[in-house]
Symmetry: C2
Subunit: 119 residues, 2 copies
């Protein structure tokens, strides 16, 4: 539970940066070398590598060096874990709203009148 929580900390932390999100987006289109990943950014290669390290330690990206080229790939299970956490909470919220709607329908109140509970 603690490990899962810590994994989510790292996943969301990794996604909380625009450069890293562009890298994730690029890798969702297919594997890329570090040089290819760095291409859209006007930052030093060490800065790019640092972002990559955050992505790798979060589990979102893995890389493999063959000869002089390091190829990076997305790790879809990590994307699904982050998405899954949010999705489960959203579903929880929507179910609660449905139950509230049912309750109001049974008691003859229009659901709309509950302030701040509309989807």
């Amino acid at each position: 539970m603690l490990n899962q929580s810590s994994a989510l900390d790292h996943l969301f932390q990794a996604l909380a940066d625009p450069t890293r999100r562009v890298m994730v987006e690029r890798l969702c289109r297919g594997p890329a070398s570090v040089t290819e990943l760095a291409a859209p950014f006007s930052m030093s290669l060490p800065a790019v590598v640092q972002h990559l390290q955050v992505l790798e330690s979060s589990g979102l990206v893995r890389s493999e060096k063959v000869g002089r080229v390091r190829t990076c790939r997305i790790e879809p299970a990590a994307l699904r874990a982050a998405e899954g956490w949010i999705q489960q909470r959203r579903t929880m919220w929507e179910r609660r709203l449905d139950r509230l709607g049912d309750f109001l329908a049974e008691s003859g109140e229009p659901a709309k009148t509950i302030q701040g509970e509309e989807p």
Copy 2:
């Protein structure tokens, strides 16, 4: 685009903390006062309020003070925005995988043999 990116920075940053995720989870079950939100944690009220401020400035939570009680609610649109970003990238990745599978099927190669590309 920049604003949307900055909004995602704040959303993922807000979700990158276990205390804040417990608060989000609690609010998905229904509105709660600050005291109710603080109950499961062995931390000072100011520390709880600080976490709440991060959640509010990310747009995930909004609160309203009536009399002496501040009531907090989840903002489902913000949850959906964070979920949507990840979902779109995951879909992008899965489509690429499907195209790759089709290509290999047409060329008579079993898709399984592509290392590191299995879902």
